[in-house]
Each structure stands twice: as structure tokens, then as C-alpha cells.
């Protein structure tokens, strides 16, 4: 759940970032991580999963602030009104799920979320880790090239994880990650492309991201519209009462 918040904060890029020369892969990735990020956000997200000649499309509205986040499904009609609320109090995370047909809110414990790097975001080809942006911990970095206004950085896993290697393509001027390749051994598992960016509140945010899953031969598109950042969201939004509201 917190992933939507992380998505908006980590994948963004401030327009004020100055072009600067970095000597190593680690320096580039640290610079990417250290960009300013919004304190809160609201957005309408369309998630489209395609495989073969079939497509599943879902639209949801998200609210993120601090450690709290909420999503509510707007479409398709059969899941409209369903929602998930993620909160954290005293270091303990809690997820509550509301299903309108049963008019029931259920709490899920953290263990239900599974390993965020293994679990996918609502059946899409994005894992929660993919959406969380580039990792720093558990990886060593190498700057493969820096030419034509673009850095290519390779991240190699130093401990067991879902990917052995990642290769990032980063715009030097904006420090935006435009493409990420995910490898297991020598096999290219997935490719993420940020196909479109947008300017919101002084931040450069990804508008559309496409994840191609080469192994599963499927593709997921994550698009966000009606994005607002750094707006104060009332605490009442992150409550069971608001979760139940249609």
C-alpha cells in the first residue's frame, strides 16, 4: 500500500536538478535517491494488464501521506467501492480491506503482504519493489557508460534477491530513470520503460510506466492522472469510516 506513496516520491525528479558529472554508479544512484520528494499526493491510477489478446483494466484513486495510504477502486463496476487502507502506528503496519458487497472491513496482518519484492501489485507485472524505485541497499553499482546525456548504471545484487542484476538508463540532465532491465542470471526477466513524464507542483513525475514481463509474455501499464502533490490530506481520510464511504 505504501508503494503508491513511494512511487510518487522516489520516481519523481525535481526540475531544479542541475546537470552534474558523477564518477561512479553509486554516486549517480545516490543522486537519484536524494532528489526532493513530495510530502503527500493524490492521484487517479489506471492499471492495465495485458497477456495474449486479453486485457484487464482497473481504475483506482489513491491518497498518500506520511506512512499512511489509501486506495479505492473506481472501476470495473463489480469491484467499485472496494478499498485498502494501510496505516502505521508505533512501527506496526496494518492493512484494512473493505468489500462493499459484504459491507465488511477486515484487518490483514503484515505477514499477508508477503515479500514485497516477490509479491506483485494487484496481479500486475510490477512487484512492490519495482514500484519502490531503484534499490541502494544490497547492491553494488558500476557506471557502464555516460554519454549522449545519459548514464547507464549496473546494479549487482550482493545478497540473494529476486533479481541478480539491474541495468538503469538515467537522463543526465534530470536524473530521471527512463528504463530499467531486470535480470536473473543472464536472463532478462522484465523491462520497465517510463514512456511519459509530467510536471506537477515542481516535480517531474512519471505519467505512464510500462513493464514488459518477458518470461510471462505479459505487459502492465501504470498511468496516473489528476495528480496533486504536497496538499494537506485530512487525517479522517485514513480511517475505516472513509474507507467504507462509496
Amino acid at each position: 500500500m505504501k508503494i503508491l506513496w513511494m512511487l510518487l516520491s522516489v520516481w519523481l525528479l525535481s526540475t531544479t536538478t542541475l546537470a552534474q558529472s558523477y564518477k561512479s554508479g553509486l554516486e549517480v544512484m545516490q543522486a537519484v535517491q536524494q532528489r526532493p520528494r513530495p510530502q503527500s499526493s493524490m492521484a487517479t491510477i489506471t492499471l492495465q494488464i495485458s497477456k495474449g489478446n486479453q486485457t484487464l483494466s482497473r481504475t483506482l484513486r489513491s491518497w498518500n501521506q506520511g506512512e499512511n495510504s489509501l486506495i479505492k477502486f473506481l472501476a470495473p463496476a463489480d469491484v467499485r467501492g472496494s478499498g485498502m487502507l494501510s496505516t502505521q502506528q508505533n512501527g506496526v503496519s496494518e492493512v484494512r480491506v473493505f468489500l462493499p458487497t459484504l459491507n465488511v472491513v477486515q484487518r490483514l496482518t503484515g505477514s499477508n503482504q508477503g515479500n514485497p519484492c516477490e509479491a506483485a501489485f494487484f496481479g500486475s507485472d510490477f512487484s512492490y519493489c519495482d514500484l519502490a524505485g531503484p534499490p541502494i541497499q544490497g547492491y553494488s553499482f558500476a557506471l557502464l557508460s555516460s554519454s549522449a546525456g545519459r548514464y547507464t548504471v549496473e546494479a549487482k545484487a550482493t545478497q540473494a534477491g529476486p533479481y541478480d542484476r539491474l541495468v538503469f538508463e538515467i537522463e543526465a540532465a534530470t536524473l530521471s530513470i527512463t528504463k530499467t532491465e531486470y535480470y536473473q542470471g543472464s536472463t532478462l526477466l522484465k523491462t520497465l520503460r517510463v514512456s511519459e513524464f509530467m510536471q506537477v507542483g515542481g516535480y517531474r513525475l512519471p505519467k505512464t510506466m510500462v513493464m514488459q514481463n518477458h518470461a510471462q509474455k505479459s505487459q502492465s501499464t501504470f498511468s496516473q492522472t489528476e495528480v496533486q502533490v504536497d496538499v494537506r490530506i485530512a487525517d479522517s481520510v485514513f480511517t475505516e469510516r472513509f474507507l467504507r464511504q462509496p
Partner: protein, 752 residues
């Protein structure tokens, strides 16, 4: 042919150099051949079951599992700890998607208003955790442990797109290293790994055995190193030429490649056998090396060319097969035989010309026939001449015997039939089937509004009735189970949702953290298709067909008016293969007969072609009769028997070629026959023995169909030999006349 041999004699050195260089160049193609033992290579291109399976794979992905059965006192703390270690090691394998066993079994429960997913065993497991696990498993009737607690089941699921062979091998190695007790395995990656291991072993062992036996019979025939080594050189270059060309086609090596290579080895050496036999015979008659070469290649080469073309066209008929691997093996043998023919007609005469002529004992005209074999052949020729009607009668009786046997043939194309019935692999799979309730599965592709309550209820009704009404099947799994489990956590009642929306929302919770592969494992993205899986034991195709028909019938009844249903599943690939095989068998055999008659008619005469093929057909009828009488299954390998016999057995052609040649030279029918049997007959005996020895090597294969094919091909080439020396001479006497007026022989030549 005479002009050709004269040209080769004139440019022998350059011919050898050019041929060796060309072969070396083309041999680079052989390095492109990849080993592939994927079961999909046996799937026909066009079959309703294959289309259903493709639709299932496209919409639901393919789930390849290795099912591991682990023996021991499963609920003992140290056994469970060993299981936890194994579970973890398998999870760490690079191509593992997930591992499911008691070690990571999670209990989904509702406690104090929360839904909790809790792994039941800690590390190390405590007595209370084990007691709770036992009690939970009894309530759930989980397939992860046998009822008596003596076997645990572990399922290792392969990551999509990974190589099943290397995954199966890695799982098998890890399990054997990590588990001290009894181990049994099943599942496609495991079987593929076993088949692959066997192919590699077969190619090394059988190739060496076949080569050794062929060389032995060549030495027994000619009694000299010259006659043994030259065919070896000829076959080596010819085979490599063929393999190189095969590599350039991009086709892989598979389960049937061993058969192809042995067939080329055996057939290729038979070319040299006939040519060298004639060459030595000409030298024995006092001709010098050049004269002997011209005589050999002007007369005997015709038979070799027709024989080779017959094999090539017989194998090319496999191109019309719907099964990729049969097309590939047809291509391999056709190219290999073409390569060995080229080597026999180009390299062999050039080498014979360059090497010093071997010392041959001169043949004295009118000298009495010596040697046991020669005396037998002469006696046989005289018996056939005197008893041709009796020969036809015996042949007729054998044909009837063969036809009755052929009517008893049963097909079995199960992947399991690749292994001997008492092999460790089969026993392992059977044990898994027995404890787990079926390592194979049927997949019911259900279409319609699958989330409607009545559709979900029908799925559960089908699962219950299948378990009760189809003996041997396991517990069916469907999306209804998932929906019911999640719905129960929210509603507090273990029941199916009351509306479509309720089902969709329950699924949304399930889908909140699963991957796209998990999402589409049971339900298509458009939610109009779902997959119901029914475990069935992996048996022969007849039993699988029975399960298929029973499941189809039950599904038609249960889902009538609710959902449309198509029954598929990888376990049914064998049925599709069986149907295609019968079609291919009839097509390839008929085409092979027609094409061989056509080729022979163009080179010689229609009458000679029909007579030669008739003799062959009798042996093919006998061959399939034997298959039926001995209860050997018709499978992917034994199906090849007919086309192989037509091609390989066409050495009978040499007999009619020689008989007509002798008639043309003015001999009477009786002396022509006697001379034919003493010359070509002798070559036919050794060709049959050499080919038989080559195919006998296949009997050492650990792949059951290859071994059966080897045994039957030995019978075939030997019976073609017997038929060529008895029935064919009788038919030749009855129906063959020289096309041109005979040139009278001088009295000295007439005698034997």
C-alpha cells in the same frame, strides 16, 4: 555412370581433397545442432487437443512442476527440519518460482477480527507446532502428506521461460543431496531431464556399439582390413556431411536422433559393402584395378543409387507428418543417406584408385563352389528354382499370420512409455501417482460468466462427482475453491459468494499481492475463462483416453447450460500424438511405397520395381504382425518401422539388378539365378547382417521405444534378407525377363 567413374579415376587426388574440404566446411553445421527433449516436439501441429492446450498456455501460462515424494517418519522433528532445509535449498535454485511443502505451509485464519496468514512450523519445529500441523492436515485432507504420515510431498514450481531439463536436473540433484531417506520424483521437468540424460548416454554407447558391430561384419565378409576401413572412412565422411547439412536446417537433436544416426551408419556401410564386394569380385576375375572400378561402378552403382534414392524418398515422406520430431528424423536420415551415397560414389572410388589394389585370390572358371555360405546359396537357388510355387505358398501363409498379428496392435504414446516398465524412473512416477493422487492432469477450460454463483457451484459439483465417479483421479482444483476460501474469511461462513460482485471482490483481495502469473493461473484476464485442474495418474494412452472420455462426459453433464467446456491438459498430448501417428503411419507408408516404385520404375522398369517392393511388403506385414503378436506398442519409434523397412530393406534391389544383368549376359534363368545368389546374394547376406548389427545396437538403448525399434529392425532386415533370397528369386523367375535381347555367353562363362 561409366563416364563419371572414368572422370573420378582421372582426378582421384583432387576428388579426395575436394571431398574432404567440402565435408570439413559443411561439418561446421553440425555444431549448430541443439539437444532438445521437450515433450512438445512430439505434439502434432494440427489437432483439436493441441489447439486447446495452446489456448490454455496462452491465457493461463504453463506451470511446470517437479513433484517430489519424500519417505520417512514425516512428523519427527528432525525429519521436518530436514524438509525445511531442502525446501530452502530448492527455493534458492535460480529457476525456482516457488516451493510448496509442509515446511512453508501457511494457515489462513481469522483471529480477533484479523485475517492472518501464518507459517505453521518454526525453525526448529516445536512439539506443539507439529501437533497443530497434524491436526490441521487431518481436517484439510492435504495432499502434502500421505494419510499414514510416511511420505511428504514437495512441489517445486519452475519459473516461466526456464529450461525444464536443467531445472528438473537441478531439483533432482538437490533433493538427492539433501534428503537421506526414500525419494521419488515425477513431473514434466523431471521426466525431460531423465530422457535427456538417457539420450546423451545412448548417443555415446549405442553409436560405439553399432560401429563396432558393423566393422566386425564387414571384416567377416571381406576378411581384410582394406574392406573394413574403407567403408568406415566412407561412412564417416558421409555421415558428417549429412549431420552438417542437418545442422544448417536448424532442426534439433531429440529422442529419435539415435535411430537416425544408426540408420545412416548401417545403410551407408551397406553401400560400401555392395560396391567393394563387386570390386573384389572383378579383381578376382583377373581384371586390373581400373577395369574393376569401371565394371563395379557401371553395374553395381545403379543398385546403390536406386537403393539410396528409395531410402531418401521413403524418409522424405515423413515431411508430411504432423509431428515435428518425425519430420526432423526423416530429414536427418535423408541427408545422412544422401551424404553416404555421395561419399560412396565420389570418395570411395577415388580412394580405391589411389590405394594399391588388394591381393585377391583369382577365381578359376568352372571351379566348384567352395565355402559353406556359397554352397548354401547355390543350394537355395536350386531349391527355389524347383519349388517356386511352394515358396509363394509359404509367403502367403506368413502374410496371413502377419495380418492377424497386425490387427492386434495397440498404440501407446505416453511419455512414460519411453522407459522400461520396471525402470527406476517409472517406479518413481508410479509411487508419486499412488501417494499424491496423480502426477498428470486434465485441464477443463470453462468459458462463460465464470464468476456467477451457479458457475462456481458447478465447478465444486464437478470436483466432488469426479472424485466419486472416476476411480483413480485426485482432487480437482478450481477458482471456486479460491473464491470460497477468501469469501469465508470475510463472511465467516465457508460458502460460495451469493453474487458475481461478491466473487469479484473476494478475488480482488486474493489478487492484491499475487503476480500476473498467479492472477492468470486459474482465471483469464477478461474473467470469461477459467481452468479447472483434475489430477490423473500418468499411465498409458489407453487409460489416459479413458480418463479423458469420463471427464468429458461428466463435464458435459455438470456444466450443461451454465458454461461451455473444453477438456485439455498436457497429459492428453499423448492422445493427440497417437491420433497423428496413425494418420502419419498410413500416409508415410503408402507414399513411401509409391515413391520407391516410381523411382525404381524410372531407373529400371515398373515390373522390376513392383516385384522388389512386393517382397519388401511381405516383410513389413510380418514385422507389424510380430508387433501385434508380441504385444509391443505402436509408438513414435515403432511407427517408423514401415518407412524404415521400405528404405533400409531396399537392398533387395541388388538381387533383381544382378539377375537382369545375368540374363542380359545370356545366361539361362537357372544359372542366372545361381550366379545372382552367389554374388549379390552373398552381399545381401552380409548387408542384412551388417544392418542387423547396426540396429541391434539400438537394443542397448535405455529409451524403450528405441530399444523396441532396434529389436524389430533386426528382425526386419534379417527377414528382408530371407525374403530377398527366397521369395524375390521366385518372383524374379516368374515375372522378370531381360528388356533387351541377350548376348550369348561363351560356354566357359555359362558354367559355375
Amino acid at each position: 555412370m561409366t563416364a563419371w567413374i572414368n572422370w573420378v579415376i582421372k582426378h582421384s587426388l583432387w576428388v579426395v581433397v575436394g571431398f574432404v574440404l567440402l565435408t570439413a566446411l559443411l561439418m561446421t553445421g553440425a555444431s549448430r545442432i541443439q539437444l532438445s527433449s521437450d515433450s512438445s516436439v512430439f505434439q502434432p501441429d494440427h489437432h483439436p487437443l493441441v489447439s486447446i492446450n495452446q489456448e490454455i498456455r496462452q491465457n493461463f501460462g504453463s506451470s511446470e512442476n517437479v513433484i517430489v515424494l519424500l519417505g520417512g517418519d514425516i512428523f519427527a522433528p528432525n525429519t521436518l527440519q530436514q524438509l525445511q532445509t531442502l525446501n530452502q535449498r530448492l527455493e534458492e535454485l535460480p529457476n525456482t518460482q516457488r516451493v510448496t511443502s509442509l515446511a512453508n505451509l501457511a494457515r489462513l485464519e481469522q483471529t480477533e477480527g484479523q485475517i492472518v496468514s501464518r507459517v505453521m512450523l518454526g525453525t526448529p519445529p516445536t512439539a506443539s507446532q507439529i501437533a497443530e500441523l497434524r491436526s490441521y492436515l487431518q481436517q484439510q485432507s492435504s495432499p502434502l502428506v500421505s494419510a499414514d504420515g510416511r511420505y511428504a510431498v514437495l512441489i517445486a514450481e519452475m519459473r516461466a521461460g526456464a529450461n525444464p531439463q536443467s531445472f528438473g536436473q537441478a531439483v533432482a540433484d538437490t533433493v538427492r543431496k539433501s534428503w537421506s531417506g526414500e525419494v521419488h520424483m515425477a513431473g514434466a521437468p523431471f521426466i525431460i531431464a531423465e530422457v535427456n540424460r538417457t539420450i546423451v548416454n545412448d548417443l555415446q554407447v549405442i553409436g560405439a556399439v553399432a560401429l563396432g558391430l558393423i566393422l566386425l561384419f564387414l571384416f567377416l565378409n571381406f576378411g581384410r582390413l582394406h574392406g573394413m576401413l574403407l567403408p568406415l572412412v566412407q561412412v564417416f565422411f558421409g555421415l558428417n556431411l549429412g549431420l552438417g547439412l542437418y545442422g544448417f536446417t536448424g532442426a534439433p537433436a531429440g529422442q529419435l536422433t539415435t535411430i537416425g544416426i544408426i540408420a545412416v551408419l548401417a545403410v551407408g556401410s551397406s553401400f560400401a559393402l555392395h560396391l567393394l564386394g563387386r570390386f573384389y569380385s572383378e579383381l578376382a576375375q583377373g581384371r586390373n584395378k581400373t577395369q574393376a572400378l569401371v565394371a563395379t561402378f557401371s553395374h553395381t552403382a545403379q543398385g546403390v543409387v536406386i537403393s539410396a534414392l528409395a531410402i531418401v524418398v521413403a524418409m522424405m515422406t515423413l515431411w508430411f507428418s504432423d509431428i515435428g520430431q518425425l519430420r526432423d528424423v526423416g530429414t536427418l536420415i535423408a541427408l545422412g543417406v544422401a551424404g553416404t551415397l555421395a561419399s560412396a560414389l565420389v570418395l570411395l572410388p577415388a580412394l580405391l584408385n589411389l590405394l594399391p589394389a588388394p591381393k585377391i585370390k583369382p577365381q578359376v572358371p568352372n571351379a566348384p563352389v567352395t565355402g559353406g555360405l556359397n554352397r548354401f546359396l547355390l543350394g537355395l537357388a536350386r531349391w527355389v528354382f524347383a519349388h517356386r510355387t511352394a515358396t509363394f505358398g509359404i509367403a502367403g501363409v506368413l502374410v496371413v499370420f502377419g495380418l492377424i498379428g497386425a490387427s492386434r496392435i495397440e498404440a501407446n504414446t505416453s511419455f512414460l512409455s519411453f522407459f522400461p516398465k520396471d525402470s527406476p524412473t517409472v517406479k518413481s512416477i508410479q509411487k508419486v501417482d499412488q501417494v499424491f493422487g496423480g502426477s498428470g492432469s486434465l485441464a477443463l477450460l470453462l468459458e462463460g460468466d465464470v464468476l456467477q454463483p451457479q458457475a462456481l457451484a458447478a465447478m465444486q459439483r464437478f470436483a466432488t462427482r469426479a472424485k466419486n465417479e472416476i476411480p483413480g483421479v485426485g482432487q480437482a482444483v478450481s477458482i471456486a475453491d479460491t473464491v470460497q476460501t477468501v469469501n469465508a474469511l470475510f463472511s465467516g461462513q465457508r460458502q460460495l459468494p451469493q453474487s458475481r460482485e461478491q466473487a469479484a471482490q473476494a478475488l480482488l483481495v486474493y489478487q492484491s499481492s499475487v503476480s500476473s502469473a498467479d492472477l492468470t493461473r486459474q482465471l483469464s484476464l477478461n474473467q470469461q475463462q477459467t481452468l479447472l485442474t483434475l489430477p490423473i495418474p500418468l499411465r498409458n494412452t489407453q487409460e489416459t483416453r479413458r480418463y479423458y472420455q469420463q471427464a468429458q462426459s461428466l463435464a458435459n453433464e455438470v456444466f450443461a447450460g451454465v458454461l461451455t467446456v473444453k477438456v485439455g491438459g498436457d497429459s492428453l498430448s499423448g492422445l493427440a500424438l497417437e491420433d497423428a501417428l496413425i494418420h502419419d503411419f498410413i500416409l508415410s507408408l503408402s507414399l513411401a511405397i509409391l515413391l520407391v516404385v516410381l523411382v525404381d520404375s524410372l531407373v529400371r522398369s515398373f515390373r522390376a520395381a513392383v516385384i522388389t517392393i512386393s517382397s519388401l511388403l511381405m516383410t513389413i506385414v510380418l514385422q507389424y504382425g510380430l508387433l501385434g503378436w508380441l504385444g509391443i506398442d505402436l509408438d513414435i519409434s515403432t511407427m517408423l518401422l514401415g518407412a524404415l523397412a521400405i528404405g533400409v530393406g531396399d537392398y533387395a534391389i541388388h538381387l533383381t539388378v544382378r539377375y537382369l544383368e545375368e540374363l542380359k549376359r545370356g545366361r539361362t534363368a537357372q544359372t542366372a539365378l545361381e550366379q545372382t545368389l552367389l554374388t549379390s546374394g552373398r552381399s545381401i547376406v552380409f548387408t542384412a547382417l551388417t544392418l542387423g548389427a547396426g540396429f541391434a545396437a539400438l537394443s542397448f538403448s535405455q529409451l524403450q521405444p528405441v530399444a523396441s525399434l532396434g529389436q524389430l529392425m533386426v528382425f526386419t532386415v534379417l527377414s528382408v534378407g530371407v525374403s530377398s533370397l527366397s521369395l524375390l528369386p521366385a518372383m524374379s523367375l516368374q515375372f522378370l525377363r531381360p528388356a533387351k535381347a541377350a548376348v550369348p555367353l561363351n560356354p566357359q562363362e555359362e558354367g559355375l
